[in-house]
């Protein structure tokens, strides 16, 4: 899969929930080949922003030539993006990185997304459900506040079961995404496949909670400060287990962003 760098025009930008936006653009070559879990680097057109280094975003939705990214304002780059308008030019470099496995090796796939970890899992849920109509797909989605919950109606295929948790209890079950996930896994007869994305603390909690013998796979999409997105700058390393209780650094952009959750050293680095 060969990534493409393109200047594209924003076709649409909408606020979907508090601080949470979807931005759309057309990039046919990426749209045709991208896989759930992969990401693109987004950068401002020269002279349009003081943001300098591109930022990585997982793909959220695609249809035809169209690509959508879901993002939440957090720092200067996402605030710049939130102020974009239809017609504005942005740089897009992708698809980059590896992808979630589309072979869950199970009759059931459980996807757990915390906060802005949702986008790659929403894309994955759709692809998994399309690829195997007999597969049971559960998407567990948690937010701190109800005001941040993204309405997934029309985004997920009807066969995907959505389980919602908010810490303020405004929508769905009151609690954390890990509470819901723990109950769901406990109620499973067989061994489900587990896919996750979210804040590092959530991924660490999930990894502590999961018995490797109880799942067919545990894939986690990670995030780290990134500059090139293509394995050059070595900026985005993630600590993973190495023989002899050692730590090895692997590049989130190239060896990831999707990692075997049992191999990441969540408490390090």
């Amino acid at each position: 899969m060969i990534p493409v760098f393109e200047w594209v025009r924003v076709t649409e930008i909408r606020e979907l929930a508090e601080k949470t936006y979807v931005i759309g653009f057309e990039e046919p070559r990426s749209a045709a080949q991208l896989l759930p879990g992969q990401f693109c680097m987004i950068s401002p057109a020269p002279g349009t922003s003081s943001v300098y280094i591109p930022r990585p975003f997982s793909y959220y939705r695609t249809s035809g030539n169209r690509i959508e990214i879901l993002f939440r304002t957090f720092g200067r780059a996402t605030r710049w993006m939130a102020h974009l308008s239809a017609g504005d030019r942005i740089g897009v470099f992708g698809p980059l990185g590896n992808a979630f496995s589309l072979q869950p090796q199970s009759a059931r796939a459980i996807l757990a997304g915390g906060g802005i970890g949702l986008p790659p899992l929403a894309l994955l849920a759709g692809r998994l459900a399309e690829a195997d109509t007999a597969l049971e797909v559960d998407l567990v989605y948690g937010e701190t506040e109800g005001s941040r919950v993204v309405n997934l109606e029309g985004v997920l295929p009807g066969t995907v079961r959505l389980h919602l948790a908010t810490e303020d209890g405004a929508v769905g079950r009151k609690g954390q995404v890990t509470d819901l996930l723990s109950d769901l896994i406990a109620s499973c007869d067989g061994r489900p496949a587990l896919y996750t994305c979210g804040p590092k603390a959530m991924l660490a909690a999930v990894s502590r909670m999961i018995d490797p013998a109880r799942v067919t796979l545990f894939e986690a999409s990670c995030e780290e400060h990134m500059a090139c997105g293509k394995g050059i700058c070595q900026g985005c390393v993630i600590p993973v287990k190495a023989p002899g209780n050692q730590t090895r650094y692997v590049r989130c952009c190239t060896e990831g962003p999707v990692f075997n959750g049992f191999e990441v050293k969540w408490e390090t680095g």
Binding site: I2, H225, A227, C228, I232, Y249, G269
Partner: protein, 311 residues
Amino acid sequence: MGDRLKVHALGLEFQNPVLVASGTFGYGDEYWEVMPFSRFGALVTKTITANPREGNPPPRIVETDSGMLNSIGLANVGLEKFLEEKLPWIAGHAGNSRVIVNVAGFSTEEFVQVAAAVGGRPEVDAIEVNLGCPNVKAGYIHFGADPESIRRVIAGIRQNIKVPLVAKLTPNVTDIAALAEAAVDAGADCLSLINTLPGMKIDIKRRRPVLAMGFGGLSGPAVRPVGVACVYKVFQQLVRMQAPVPIIGIGGITSAADALEYVMAGASLVQVGTHNFVHPQAAGLVIDELEEYCNSQNIRITDLVGCAHER
């Protein structure tokens, strides 16, 4: 491409004056499908050390205004793997691009060992010696900031290799001209400058430095005026010394206009660095723009070297 961009330096012909800076184009293979380095004047590889290095803990990079801080810690595949796997691939794809290997060590002996092993390979056109990466412990920066240490390392390498030697200088000194003088006296064929500047960003929510190592090296457009000033100063020093040693200008180049500032300050060649991360085709675009500029002015790029010094 016409001849307007050709540069003869280090006894080599460069098809154009645009190189990519060490650490910003890896080993050439990562960006190959998007930006083949065979179009460049030269590929400068990631710094190679004797042993493989994992590098520093994350976070290793953070954006700052018009730039970024990095604290990678010279993560690299190590000499053996570089020579066995990376170098043959680079040589097989270089085309008309020159191949420059950046080397470093934690002692004079290691510098000499790595440089001699790399310099002995026929695929290598030149060696660039990293005299001042700010991101490794044990006072490495003081090493690159001390003219006597530079003299020792460059002279040691010079005795052991025949290929042209580029000394990459740190700007983190009171007088970079003194470093230039030491490197040239010891036998450097060329000087490249500047390496990054030490910087820090503090996360005011966590009340701690953002980077795990605290300090990082600042690069990007923010450092360009520092780089241009250093090149200007070193050019004057070389004139005083009557040393016909070419300079490679580095620091914050994003366009032909930026590259021209360095050339006019005295650089014969330039390196595009951090901007490769912003736009993987940046160096190719700088080449295109420089050619357009030279055509429109009806000049060769070499006509402009050091022209800002003319009165």
